[in-house]
Amino acid sequence: MKKRRIQSLLCAVFLIFSMTQFAYGAQAPGLIERTGEQVPLGAEFRDESGKSVTLGQLLTKPAVLSFAYFGCEDQCNTVLSNLARALGRTKGTPGEDFLVLTVSFDGQDTPEDAAYKKKNYTLASGRQMDEGAWRFLTGGNDSIEALTGAAGFSFRKTEKGFDHPAALAVLSSDGRIIRYIYGNSYLPADIEMALLEASEGRITASIKKAIQLCFSSEPGGRAYLVSVLRAAGVGTLVFAAVFFIYVTASNRPGKKDPR
């Protein structure tokens, strides 16, 4: 009788848990994986010289796709400079073995902004790159929405800019999404491995990591947080020490024990 009640209780607990697993849907801004799907090859963008190109024309090789907006002051720069650093150290040569596409998701960005960014970041990679190796693309809102939607990236416009996730997508030369690389810092091997899979056309699961988001309004509390936590840590230790002294001083063993 009692046993059965415990059993049914356990069942109920399991049931609740398994149901709630699906209750939580993804919300903007964020990243929903669309591995295996095709990016819109017909979407039109402008290259750094303002010339109109479609994705299909550009994608002649496997490619690393990153999103940014050129007015960004925080994480996009981290993403791009870390990407540049990694690109400077890959075995394969950008432009020959693979391409890099950085697409702005701000419809206001101009080819001039793109050219400026391109100059800076190719320089930062410390590597000679062909004109076509790392493309910085701008485009109209329609193309942007088509591409980001297909890649599963979502953004939110705020007063100061955009909130957006930090991640790369790797595309095969026929425009399928092979895999995502999460985070804002990348090892050369991260990129090479995904590109190898892309050249073999093998679609794989991404490695789930803490996905980082970039806030246009950077929360000011970080430094404050560190000091709060530090104070809390010290407070804890002091409390523990005082308690320790209290119990040690007040309870000598064998003093009150009847044993």
Binding site: G220, L225, V228, T236, F243, N251, K256
Partner: protein, 203 residues
């Protein structure tokens, strides 16, 4: 129980140390949401003030008074036990449980009012709220909910202790269990004393 445990059961100070350590961990459990509260408050000062103004201070004050009174009755029940007045002890413990129950009923209506206005995590009133209002209520429901669970646990513990008093297994010679029960109830009270001002008063 074999002889082994009988030794330690008579160790009054030992039981007390163990109980205090446990309360220590409980305190840390609530330290988490309070820490998050202070961080988010720093980040979204205005939203937190606005959200706090929407809480019913009257109910909060009443509940605070209720818990403080219940702590008093709990303490008195221990004094009564020390003096060997079993009947008084049981009455006072009953009063404590009753106060806890009234507290929870109040909480139920308070939560119910908020929920009926769509102010709850995932509720329509908080949809798309990004300026900290949603976080405030997220923390509010989390912290008061966790505290509510502790109130409930405290009531159960007091009821069990009352049964033990009734059976005479807690008596005027051996009442450390009752004292520890009292300590737990005071903890529940003290946590509320922290939660009440940060959610209702600090503006």
């Amino acid at each position: 129980m074999n002889g082994t445990t009988a030794h330690s059961h008579r160790d009054y100070t030992g039981s007390k140390i163990g109980m205090w350590l446990f309360l220590f961990t409980e305190f840390f459990l609530f330290f988490g949401p309070i820490l998050l509260y202070s961080i988010f408050r720093f980040r979204y000062p205005q939203a937190f003030i606005d959200a706090s103004l929407a809480l019913d201070t009257g109910v909060g004050v009443f509940n605070t008074a209720l818990l403080l009174t219940s702590s008093l009755t709990m303490a008195l029940s221990i004094t009564a036990m020390q003096r060997g007045k079993k009947g008084t002890t049981l009455v006072l413990m009953g009063a404590t449980v009753l106060a806890g129950a009234v507290f929870l009923v109040n909480k139920y209506f308070e939560w119910g009012a908020k929920i009926s206005h769509g102010v709850y995590p995932g509720g329509e009133a908080l949809e798309g709220v990004k300026d900290g209002g949603a976080v405030f209520y997220g923390l509010y429901f989390f912290a008061t909910g966790l505290h509510g669970i502790h109130v409930l646990a405290g009531m159960v513990i007091i009821t069990v202790a009352a049964l033990l008093v009734h059976e005479g297994r807690i008596n005027s010679n051996d009442f450390v269990k009752l004292e520890n029960t009292g300590l737990y109830w005071h903890l529940v009270d003290v946590i509320w004393i922290y939660l009440f001002p940060i959610f209702y008063l600090v503006r």
